[in-house]
Symmetry: C2
Subunit: 202 residues, 2 copies
């Protein structure tokens, strides 16, 4: 939705033409930032991100005027990736299995967001839109998975997608980085819960 190819504005708004190197750099910065955030936390110095990306700090700040803008951009990217995964998994697996796989992916997403919990409650305007972005992307994605599983009679239909997102988000958030096994078992438990009573709902 943003990579408007170069020459397509033949007439009206010919003010674009993002230079190729700029585009490339923005991408690199986001990749590097993501990796450094997960390695050192969201507090890594901008300078480090810049150096590791092979650019100067000026370049980072031109694209992301505030540090928090960069953090928010990485966040959105990861939401997108997780949503995309929901689509992929839905195409390649049975509904019930797809649900399990996606929940696990989702807990991994949440686990890396622990450092942002405070930021989301902060007043920084860069983060203001993130909760909405989160919900308006994840809710439909999960709804699609649930609908598919409900349609095949595997789960019941009286659980709201958003409530599930919160519940699983909560349990993934509450545990340390070692919680993988715990998380998987909780996810299974939740899906069992969804399966319970599946028959009487159809």
């Amino acid at each position: 939705m943003r990579g408007n190819s170069v020459k397509e504005q033949t007439e009206k708004a010919a003010k674009k033409t993002v230079r190729a190197d700029a585009q490339r750099n923005e991408n690199t910065i986001l990749e590097v930032a993501k990796s450094l955030f997960s390695k050192y936390g969201v507090d890594v110095p901008v300078r480090k991100i810049a150096t590791e990306s092979g650019v100067g700090v000026g370049t980072v700040y031109r694209r992301f005027p505030k540090r928090s803008d960069l953090v928010a951009a990485v966040f959105r990217r990861e939401v997108d990736a997780c949503v995309r995964y929901a689509e992929t998994v839905q195409q390649n697996h049975q509904p019930g299995e797809a649900l399990t796989l996606w929940f696990i992916r989702y807990t991994e997403f949440i686990a890396t967001k622990r450092g942002l919990a405070a930021a989301l409650h902060s007043k920084d305007p860069a983060f203001a839109s993130l909760p909405i972005y989160f919900r308006s992307n994840f809710e439909p994605a999960l709804k699609a998975l649930l609908d598919a599983a409900a349609k095949s009679g595997e789960i019941r239909t009286d659980i709201a997608p958003y409530d599930l997102l919160r519940a699983i988000g909560g349990l993934a958030m509450a545990n340390g980085d070692d919680g993988t096994e715990y998380e998987h078992s909780m996810v299974k438990l939740m899906i069992d819960g969804l399966r319970f009573g599946a028959d009487q709902t159809r």
Copy 2:
């Protein structure tokens, strides 16, 4: 364990003699820090705390080598105050009422701790002991209140104190600063839940 000067062990313990002004300053710093934390968040500059306390930064750092040590100290103080309140309220109110009053006080405590949520998950050693401190102080305090209410037949006995702490903590944490009314009603709901079935448990 480190500054054992030679002459101060006349026999066993004579290692005290905290100078009066030092004691006074430490107290002032903690008071001021608490008030500034709640006004501006835990990110207020140490300089500001020092100035407002009428001391130099050096004085603050002598007592609290790291910024986070100060934050942790204020946290412990507030835990203590909240626990003390449990004792007070238990002496001056009927068990059921005491429970309500204390839960409200507790939600207020939690609400001011939103900024620390991330810190508690951080690796800063100053915060490492806080979760244990939290639990080992709050759990017995709440247990006493619950026991009293159970003894008078007002509530049932099958709810673990720590689970209650987490549940109420969770709801207080999840809401914005405007959540007072919501929180009170949720607390009432929880206590009603405790009252439910009180009779068959005795």
